[in-house]
Symmetry: D3
């Protein structure tokens, strides 16, 4: 079970409203490599993981990711300029920041100026009421398709490692393009945390490889058709670089007859 | 921020594996009225809610919903028959239940029998590794489109109330059709909790109505075009039932001229 | 069966072309709270509604919503600047308004200026040929996922009421941000009609509550687990506000044993 | 504007409940080639069509399609076995047909038997309350992506013609596989109507071709790169069949130099 | 099987970076009428086509379309300004064009300027690393729903013809709005190729019509309900234009009794 | 550019029709870890990869994957029982296998029996005309969301490695559950090829790590917040296992003050 504390995991203090920045940050709220995706992916993996230590690791990190999601949502809300002041008055129009010391000022004017230009700002203002919605930076809804899971521990952990590296890259790009100092402070923290997670998943992969006696690569590549290099795109040199010494190059159709296929590519079948 | 405790909010003890039941229960894991949807909807609303009491309520209930999600996921995993026994052996084939006392027995045979028939079981076995995935009972992925949010407190709370009533109905149907006693015990608990949430949202709506001096209906219906009953589907008597005494019936195009339109329907314009 | 009259339900007279405004208005053509969603939701509910009066009401309102959809589509077409003049010449380039008195003038220049900035305008121009498409303001396609239906009359009507309140809010925001007087006149009319529908659905809910002897809340909350307040997000006071006198506060896992669970929260289990 | 008459365009009298058939028929309610798609596609085209006769044709057929949608929805509702008898009792369980003379009988038993097997039945029962939902036969939600529109009259009408042929094929397959006589009578009627529409769109295409002085093909194919046959898949004879006398065969990269490219394929560049 | 040659089918030489243009061109990479859709649609049709000549034609054109996809992807990459210079340095920041002679220069400055305005640029920069992604111009992901296939040769070929006409229209619009000369040269080439494909599909349709003894229209329209014109949208004259001499006009519900229905519309049933 | 040879990369000889198996195999045609996803992901990565050797590798493997897609499509078509015999006769009903020696026999009877049970078979028969469609085993359409790409070479290659491991697992499950010997022979071949690809991507990752002077892990984890272990899920021992010696454990909110935060978790802030 989960419990919640209204303090954020790490404080978020945006300096001023900027809906276009808010739209960009949505990428990590409801986007393909965002915090919800990460949280749910590790959560899903925890159900099918028998090893108690790795299961614990998955839940530790999943729980941190949902806390990141909350930080990102708070960042977006502040960048949006906050919601209507008075909950009793629908559409009161006036906008202020929830964080002290930062007021929207001409936020409405700013909104009216930007609103014609950035379609995600349009949608966020009309639909989300100036708060975060489960969409990405271009307004595409979050989808369960983002979550990579097949129930094989090694494959799932490799998917988790890759997810962390992608998330880190997106934060790096946000740090490059979103110039609000408060938002950048948050991105900096989150880049570091995704790095921490990537290293933990790497250790978990090594642990599983040890348990399996050498990693997934041990049983790989020792069958007939797994030794051949696919030289199917002409005009490059990857086959020289990556083909192991005993691997043959194949360029055309296999016959399905193992005796013939071991010589695959000897005579290029595609004329 | 969130914290997690590996104890479930309420214990889940499925009596035996049944992948087709598991497929049905996916409806509440990744479906349109499921726990993830509920959790994320109230979470999103919390960012744009200024009233601290209602904001607290939203986060209390959202946190309970993610704990429900975990219960539902555990239920699905048990119904799927559990994952491969040995994390070191990819596809070891043998299946056991994580819960003591319940063994898969002929689960593999069962899987092979059912697998051709229920396409969601097919997908869950191949893709999800016998664990929960963020899809619904027909294999459709979860989507952020399920979440209803416009940033208006009354509209959002009414959406939350409606969400609870729909979720309750789905659990009721699951209770009717999924016969595993352990699963039914869980559905029974969850029906009660959704009822509790529905009542809390109803109180919150009343609180907002009080703050607004009478609810949304107070300011509604006092403008010219909001008084007219749309008699556009012929062959019924709803207009007699629902039309207030001073409301006119309109059946055809408005002219856009208020003086004429107040007599809308006097002469049926559609012949 | 349906019949159509080429007159609009209410006249639409946009004053000048403005593709960015058109993109915004798409929200109510193909968006999550738009007219197509409303029309189809009530239409779907009508099939499973046995009460003839409420069935008639659902069809009356559904039929009005599709007439609203047509108005919104006409508004978008006018704001887009109209289509190619001459159907014989593919891509003739020149643009005029279908409504008399409003000419596109420099619409092409305007289009070329705005086209790089608003991605929904890009898509609408390239894909939709300057007409409405079933997408929302950010270019996301309409989806059946927008439609809330579970086949329980009370739950469905509450969903319909919530849908009207959300639609009303979106029109209010459009009225605030889209400054074309002709479009605003239409929004004003539609806000009033959504209010009328909201009130009608409220009456229908009361009718069903009467038939059920007190509303859904009557049978709610009288079971063991439906009385407890979920105090799971720390740092707020909602439990004081919303907890009824005899309701206990629960903060940690239930045991599943009713005798113990009635004391839920007596000793906080989560440390 | 639209008006509705509670009589169906053509009577629908299903002989007995059969949820699996209902799931199949959903294909034409919310599926890729279904009635909603057809209705919305022609409706969208009507906004950008300047020719008043073709605009009228589009609206005549669109209006018929929404009436088809209603018939298909009624057919599904009857095949589902109808909804709960008593609107006052949520989940009353007993099932009857709305059509006189056809009673569900053991429909609940039937539902419980089929429910584990067909995942769309699962979803329809849990979500849709035994009524139609905007999904296809495999539970995939309807999407605006089904609608083909680019705002060019010839391209749009060709898309409409193709849509009618696809819809006709699906009804033909339903007629082959869904054996309920009442449903088959409806499919037979709808096949005939889609044929009627296909012929009307064919006439409209000829009318536009005449207006354009000979059809889209007139200005086609008279430019340098539009004369060449793409011989890119080896092992067939289509180039002999379809290459016009003066068309060259191209098999490899163009140089971008018109003088050279007219000899494209003279020396096959891909070895 | 497929083989690849790193030379493009037709050279692509964009003159300068312009991310907003890149976002527009994404329409033909991952959009509803783009190259991937065309390639996959004809590829899918080839599996169910028994006629060897038409099967060859489908694969010839499908193979050309994937080569078009590659050109469009290269165009987008060049317009994005290219990727990081040094693959060893994640986020090196500096940008150059892969094509000689065209340098990004102030591309980063340009990116930072445009990035707040066009949400698809935002997403492409953050997610796609300045390369093409399988989304359309508004950031909507590619979907298999774009592919029209029912396994009936005539219906499928008509769908293919319509697809080519739509693709041609989109390239024409891109040619009108994207002013980079290198991109326009590519659009010009692709318009011509889509024309060539449209003509080939037209010939294939004629071939099938010949095989079927006169085209799909031969067996159409000779049944009772396929002769009637649907006069359901009032206020137009299409029925005069398109109704054949012996066709009756129907305006209201059929009785289902053939004798009566042949007189459909004699007495207008909808009042 | 691409070229195609009508010979398959590896021969596919299904022994008998079995539509339910066909539905299962769709997972690798249009599913989340299928061949189209793999092909398009590596293809997308090739555009943003500057290193010519790795770019060549990506295109070699991408080209092999589209050839796999063709094999999988052929396998599905054979399992579906083939299309109508005579392309001139729409819906001729009779079914034969394209592969010699295998005839459908009672395939129609079989189809009618299975058709009510597996909703993906329903959809494939009605929509796809007994051929492959770009959907997965539960009928969900293929989506560009399956493709993981961020334009960072290390992150992208790790995503590619993970994709191969997931694809391998799905083929392993298909091999376990789909018993047709011809299909199993194909799965066996494809498992081996995905292993070959996994090993090649692993080598490519090492090459990039060498170029970067030690892999992504070198620059990771040396910043303040990247050293801390997130002990947020109570009841496990992962922190003992994975926490490096100098890493602190954090359990509660950070202050944002680096001096305080290095002591994170010293006093557990969440009570």
């Amino acid at each position: 079970m989960f419990m919640h504390n209204k303090e954020l995991l790490f404080p978020v203090n945006v300096k001023g409203p900027n809906p276009a920045f808010a739209a960009a940050v949505l990428e990590q709220f409801g986007g393909a490599n965002g915090e919800l995706k990460a949280c749910l992916q590790y959560f899903a993996h925890s159900f099918t993981t028998k090893d108690p230590v790795i299961r614990d690791l998955l839940l530790d990190i999943s729980t941190e990711e949902i806390s990141h999601l909350e930080m990102v949502g708070e960042c977006i809300t502040q960048l949006m300029g906050g919601t209507d002041v008075d909950p009793n008055v629908m559409g009161s129009g006036e906008q202020t920041m929830r964080q002290e010391g930062a007021t929207m000022g001409n936020a409405n004017g700013y909104l009216n100026q930007i609103i014609n230009q950035n379609s995600t700002v349009q949608k966020s203002v009309y639909l989300g009421g100036h708060g975060p919605d489960f969409i990405d930076s271009s307004g595409t809804p979050f989808t369960g398709n983002y979550i990579n899971t097949v129930g094989d521990l090694m494959a799932d952990l490799q998917s988790d490692l890759a997810a962390e590296l992608r998330a880190r890259k997106v934060y790096e790009e946000l740090h490059r393009h979103v110039t609000d100092p408060g938002a950048r402070e948050m991105f900096d923290f989150l880049v570091q945390r995704e790095e921490a997670h990537a290293l933990l998943f790497k250790e978990a992969i090594e642990r599983v490889a040890d348990m399996q006696g050498g990693g997934f690569e041990k049983s790989f590549g020792d069958k007939q058709y797994s030794k051949l290099y696919p030289e199917l795109s002409m005009g490059g040199s990857a086959s020289q670089m990556f083909r192991s010494d005993d691997a043959r190059i194949i360029t055309g159709p296999f016959t399905g007859d193992p005796d013939t296929d071991t010589f695959g590519g000897a005579s290029p079948p595609m004329q």
